[in-house]
Amino acid sequence: MSEPHAALNNPAAAGGSREQDLISSVQRGQHELFYELVRPYERRVYAAALAILRNEHDAEDAAQEAMLKAFANIRQFRAEARFSTWLIQITVNEALMRRRRERTVVMEGIDDRRDGEEGGYAPRDFADWREIPSEALERKEVRQRLAEALARLDQKYRQVFVLRDMEHLNIQETAEALGITVASVKTRLLRARLMLRDLLAAGWEQGWFSRLPFEKGTKPW
C-alpha cells in the first residue's frame, strides 16, 4: 500500500492538507480519487447508518448511497466544515429519509417511556467499578456484547450516542445532523450513557466479560 493510503487510514494522522488536496482534486474532476477520499470514513458512515436503520443490509445500502450523494454534491463542500462531519450528516439524512419512507416500526428496547425525556434517569447499579481495559475490545465477543447493548437503546438515544460518542461529532454538530436542539442532545446523551452503563453492568453479572482478567467477584463497575 502506498504511503498516502496508509496515512489516510487514520484521518487524524493524515492531516487536513492531504484531505483538502484530495477534495480539491475530486472537485476539479479527478473522480477516481473519490474512494481514496472517503475510505477512511467508511466505518463511521456505516455505523451512523446502522444506528438509525438497525439493519445491516439497509445500513450498508444507505452508506453506499450516502457516499454517492456526497460525490454528487462534492462541489458544494466548503473547507470551513470538517469533511467527516459533512459526510456523516449526509449519511444521517439518507438513513432518516429511508426510515421515514419505510415507516419502520422500531422495536423499543430499554427506553424512557416510563420517564419522560425531561425527567432524570436514575442509575440502577452501584456496584464497585473497575475499568475494562481497551484490550478487551480485541475480542469479537466483547464487541458483540457492546453492540447488542447499544441496539437495545431506544432509537433517539442510540442516534445521539452514536454520533456523539462513536462518531465524535460535537454537541452542536450532532444537533444539526439530527435536527434537534442542543439541549435535547445533552439530555439524550446523558440518558444513553447511563442506560448503557446499566445494561453493561447487568451483562457483567451474567458473565459477559467473565473471561476478562478482572479480579474474581469484582464487577467492572
Binding site: 475530486v26 464497585d128 481497551s134 450513557r193 447511563l194
Partner: protein, 225 residues
C-alpha cells in the same frame, strides 16, 4: 431524624450530580459546579460508581474498533462507487448538464431547420400541387409518361387531355413525380390511390367536382389547340 435529613439531602445531591454527569465527563460545565461535583464523587461511592461506569461506556464505545463493518463491505462500496461515479456527475458537472439542457433543444431546432431547408432545396419538391392531386404512389415508376408546358399533370401517351401537344416531353413516371407533376386522373386512373372514394361522400363529391373543373380546363386547352 438528623440522619434521615442528611440521607435525603444526600439523595438530592446525587440526583443533581447524575443530571450533570454527562456534561462533567465532557468538560462542558462551569468551574464552580465542577468543583462541587468533584468533591461529591470523593465522598459518595454510588456517584463515583456511576461516573466510572459512564466514563467506561464513553471510552469503550469511542474506540475505533467498535466501528465494525460487515465482511466485504469495502469491496462492495468500492464497486458501487465505481459504477455510480461512472454514471453520475458531481453537481458542478451538472453545470454542463443544465447547459446541455438548453443546448439539446437548440441543436434539435437547428436540425429541423436544416432538414426543412434541404427538403425545400431538393429537386423532388412538389412545386405544383393540385388541391385534388392524388399521390402517384401506385403508378409504375418506369412507366413512360408525357408532360407538357403549362400543365401540372403527367399523362399516359395519347391521352386526349394533354395541354400544348407541341411541348410534349416524355419521361418516366418517377422523373415526372420528382419534378412535381401529378398523374392525370383520367388516363392514369387505374393507378391512382382510391382513398378519396373510401372517405366521406362529401370528399368524393368535392374531388369529383374539382376533377370536372380540371377536365374542363384541360378540354378548353385542347379546344384551344
Amino acid at each position: 431524624m438528623v440522619e434521615n435529613n442528611d440521607l435525603e439531602k444526600n439523595n438530592d445531591n446525587c440526583q443533581r450530580v447524575w443530571r450533570d454527569i454527562s456534561n462533567y465527563i465532557d468538560g462542558d460545565i462551569d468551574p464552580g459546579l465542577r468543583s462541587t461535583m468533584h468533591e461529591h464523587f470523593r465522598t459518595c461511592k454510588r456517584c463515583a460508581s456511576v461516573l466510572a461506569g459512564a466514563r467506561n461506556v464513553v471510552q469503550l464505545y469511542g474506540d475505533e474498533r467498535m466501528l465494525d463493518v460487515p465482511a466485504g463491505f469495502s469491496r462492495r462500496l468500492e464497486k458501487r462507487l465505481e459504477k455510480g461515479l461512472a454514471k453520475d456527475e458531481p453537481s458542478g458537472a451538472r453545470r454542463w448538464s443544465s447547459w446541455s439542457a438548453w443546448l439539446v433543444p437548440v441543436a434539435a431546432l437547428v436540425l429541423i431547420a436544416g432538414t426543412v431547408f434541404l427538403t425545400n432545396s431538393l429537386p423532388f419538391r412538389n412545386y405544383v400541387q393540385s388541391r385534388h392531386a392524388q399521390p402517384g404512389n401506385h403508378v409504375p415508376p418506369d412507366l413512360v409518361v408525357v408532360v407538357s408546358a403549362g400543365s401540372k399533370l403527367f399523362h399516359a401517351p395519347g391521352c386526349p387531355f394533354i395541354h400544348d401537344k407541341n411541348s410534349e416531353r416524355t419521361m418516366t413516371a418517377k422523373e415526372a413525380m420528382q419534378d412535381g407533376y401529378v398523374p392525370c386522373t383520367r388516363c392514369l386512373r387505374q393507378y391512382l390511390n382510391t382513398s378519396l372514394t373510401r372517405h366521406t361522400g362529401q370528399q368524393v363529391v368535392e374531388a369529383d367536382s374539382v376533377d370536372r373543373g380540371e377536365e374542363q380546363e384541360e378540354l378548353l386547352g385542347v379546344a384551344g389547340h
